[in-house]
């Protein structure tokens, strides 16, 4: 049981380049989330999904797109990277309320992205 995994772990992009971050979970969780973490700002929600085929905007969605074609995967895309998107990105998943005794989120190890 790997939990939540993220690829890649590190990436350096030039301004204007595109990339996709992949998150995968093997816990059969319905909900998945993408956050970014910047110094002194805690975690900010980018996008989230409440189930396969659904996505919704979070607190800071501009410049990002997401897709949830399979229940276990949640992809975060940057179409045209900007230096302001330099950050550490975390994926998380959680079960449905009432579906189990576990209400918390499970986090991946993070992706460190630098845009130059």
């Amino acid at each position: 049981n790997a939990g939540v995994t993220q690829t890649p772990k590190f990436r350096v992009l030039k301004t204007g380049q595109s990339m996709t971050l992949l998150c995968a979970q093997d816990m059969n969780h319905e909900y998945m989330y993408w956050y970014r973490q910047d110094p002194g700002m805690g975690l900010r929600l980018i996008h989230y999904s409440v189930g396969e085929g659904t996505t919704a905007k979070g607190e800071v969605p501009d410049g990002y797109n997401v897709s949830r074609l399979k229940k276990q995967n949640f992809l975060l895309g940057l179409e045209s990277a900007a230096p302001s998107q330099t950050s550490v990105y975390f994926c998380a998943s959680s079960p449905v309320h009432g579906g189990s005794d576990s209400y918390e989120q499970y986090f991946g190890p993070g992706t460190r992205l630098t845009v130059t």
Binding site: V50, G58, V96, H97, Y103, Q105, P109
Partner: protein, 114 residues
Amino acid sequence: AQSVAQPEDQVNVAEGNPLTVKCTYSVSGNPYLFWYVQYPNRGLQFLLKYITGDNLVKGSYGFEAEFNKSQTSFHLKKPSALVSDSALYFCAVREFRLLNKFYFGSGTKLNVKP
């Protein structure tokens, strides 16, 4: 609006002394409250949660937290700090009606000195 506040950016404590990391929240309805710990260059790890029941909840690594509804607080505590407890701690609330969202505090850096 839902929110979580961690009023201290940093907490310093000597090894062996008790520690408290503060958290207050604002949420409509009954709160689901969580504490997470983050070690350098790692993801967040779950420590403990309050869902219902006893106001004092116990979690991993000897940590506990006290839910106080009247003060809307959920402070993290440990009777005797270890140097290895040094890390970044986040408080979070899961809103009852929209259970697909979590709200995180800005984090508190705990420094435990030998």
